[in-house]
């Protein structure tokens, strides 16, 4: 079966969506990602959608779900690379993805994830000290 590859980079998981996804493929990604977050104890997930020419309500819901599920597994999700036309269309469609963190590109997204984990570590240290 066709699958979207998930790359591991230290504590982070990296997903680049490059195909026009069928609904089934989107659901499979949701399942694969949550499984890998748990198994690899990942602290962050970066989803790059810069190649996507369209995000409809189904794909939007999948992204919102991944973000919520990751949060419950103690991982932060950052969505990067959304095209301006996609952002305009999503908001008009009525889907503004509340609770989903975004960054303009992969580099900024990684920086955001690193800061988040650093903050979390500092809090833990404060708490213990």
């Amino acid at each position: 079966m066709e699958r979207i590859p998930i790359l591991r980079m230290g504590q982070f998981l990296l997903v680049t969506i490059q195909v026009d996804m069928r609904d089934q493929l989107a659901l499979q990604l949701q399942e694969d990602l949550t499984e890998q977050i748990s198994r690899l104890e990942a602290k962050g997930v970066l989803i790059d959608i810069s190649a996507l020419e369209l995000v409809d309500s189904f794909i939007g819901r999948m992204i919102a779900n991944i973000s919520a599920m990751a949060r419950m597994l103690d991982a932060e999700t950052v969505l990067v690379g959304m095209r301006p036309a996609v952002a305009i269309t999503l908001v008009e469609l009525g889907l503004s993805l509340p609770g989903v963190h975004t960054a303009l590109d992969v580099e900024r997204g990684m920086a955001r994830l690193r800061t988040h984990i650093l903050d979390a570590d500092t809090h833990d240290a404060d708490h213990e000290g």
């Binding site: 026009d20 996804m21 069928r22 609904d23 089934q24 020419e53 369209l54 995000v55 409809d56 309500s57 189904f58 939007g60 819901r61 095209r83 301006p84 036309a85 996609v86 305009i88 269309t89 008009e92 469609l93 009525g94 889907l95």
Partner: protein, 134 residues
């Protein structure tokens, strides 16, 4: 209102939603829509094709290129022979869903196009027509 070109695509399974998106993308490019207008029309098509499949148990997408004076537009009809929509007002409400979606399909698609029409009859099916002009 002359139609200069028309055809149809079947909507029988999930891959057909992707085919509908790609077909509409090509048509909007042919007409010369800008990137935002292209994206809006393709997204509307994706929502309506999925509705026809999930709620209407499949059907077809008919497309027509209309030329009206100086303007050109793309009209899409999503036609199914499914159960129809018993409460259209409710179905057009944001957030209302009878299935697995977010309930943005119909109301969301309407916001992405210039013209929107829907005909539905219980037990006979649904026909949603949308148009976007250049």
């Amino acid at each position: 209102m002359p139609i200069t070109k028309a055809d149809s695509l079947p909507i029988r399974g999930e891959p057909d939603i992707v085919m509908a998106r790609q077909g509409v993308r090509k048509l909007t490019q042919e007409i010369g829509f800008g990137i935002v207008d292209q994206t809006k029309m393709v997204t509307a098509a994706s929502e309506l094709a999925r509705n026809a499949l999930v709620y209407g148990r499949g059907g077809e997408m008919r497309w027509e290129i209309h030329v009206e004076g100086a303007r050109t537009g793309l009209r899409l009809h999503f036609i199914d022979q499914g159960p129809g929509i018993p409460d259209l007002k409710q179905a057009m409400t944001d957030g209302w869903t009878s299935g697995t979606g977010m309930g943005l399909g119909l109301s969301g698609a309407k916001r992405l196009v210039n013209e929107f029409a829907i005909e539905t009859a219980e037990g006979k099916g649904t026909r949603v027509s949308v148009t976007r002009w250049k």
